[in-house]
């Protein structure tokens, strides 16, 4: 098989698999007959390896603690955005009293909307990346993120803003 194609096909596998088998697998492909059937077989096997990674021995996944996952930027940023949105609403209350609903939403309302909508892609990225790697810890972080979203929305609904 062509060396470039062998390399490209090997890159379809997850990095942990490539780290252990990548070099010898690439050599195996280069020394083999190649062809469409072989390429399809490799692509299919790589896809299955990504969906159901090989476990055990030296292929065991690293153990992530909840704290380690929570410290990831994609975990922290949505929480920080929700907290900021919450502070934008309740922060002025001690100084200016309970806000009232106005026809013109104003800067704070727009900022709140940007913060709440802007965290959605980050949340999605976190869920896609970490639910596979560390499902239990990722679910915990998603619960924290959901709690922060609800906390940011609570005063808006409570004060009917």
């Amino acid at each position: 098989m062509n060396r470039l194609l062998a390399r490209a096909l090997t890159r379809l596998y997850p990095s942990a698999w490539r780290e252990r088998y990548g070099a010898e697998f690439e050599m195996h492909l280069v020394d083999g007959p190649g062809g469409l059937g072989a390429a399809v077989d490799v692509a299919w096997a790589a896809m299955k390896e990504r969906m159901f990674p090989t476990r055990g021995g030296n292929m065991e996944r690293p153990v992530y603690s909840f704290g380690a996952v929570m410290k990831r930027p994609s975990a922290l940023v949505p929480v920080a955005m929700s907290v900021t949105a919450l502070l934008l609403v309740i922060g002025p209350i001690p100084f200016y009293g309970v806000p009232v609903r106005e026809p013109d939403e104003g800067t704070i309302a727009h900022l709140w909307q940007i913060l709440m909508a802007g965290q959605l892609p980050v949340l999605l990225f976190f869920a896609i990346t970490w639910l596979r790697r560390a499902p239990r810890q990722a679910l915990g972080v998603l619960a924290v993120q959901a709690g922060a979203v609800l906390a940011a929305m609570a005063p808006v609904f409570y004060f009917n803003l």
Partner: protein, 117 residues
């Protein structure tokens, strides 16, 4: 999860295909001595007519190695040979015994069926 299979058909398939349980085929191939990937493919093709594709073969190799049923030897030039471990031999023996029992029972029923006809 079983590995994928890339099976080359030939005339004796009779529409039923070949026996293809890649991890078991790899274990059976290594039972006759250490081999590298291409040697395993040829050996398995000669043994049962199933030609494993490279992805299927390495899927099986990875799972067998991580379960401790085969182990890598020192690389020979560009090739990586593997050998079966004691545990692998035990697993192979158990699986083949089950298959043997199944084949025996199946053949017995087939014979009884043919006698009845």
């Amino acid at each position: 999860m079983r590995s994928t299979q890339y099976v080359v058909d030939d005339e004796n398939g009779a529409g039923l295909g070949h026996y293809s349980d890649p991890p078991l085929l790899v274990l059976a191939s290594l039972a006759s001595g250490p081999k590298h990937g291409h040697a395993m493919i040829e050996d398995i093709a000669g043994m049962c007519g199933t030609r494993l594709g490279p992805g299927t073969l390495y899927g099986a190799i990875a799972r067998l190695e991580q379960q401790g049923w085969i182990e890598p030897l020192e690389p020979e030039e560009r090739r990586q040979p593997y050998r079966i471990t004691e545990d692998g031999l035990r697993v192979l023996g158990a699986k083949l015994a089950t298959l043997h029992q199944f084949a025996k029972a199946g053949l017995k029923r087939l014979a009884a069926n043919q006698e009845a006809l």
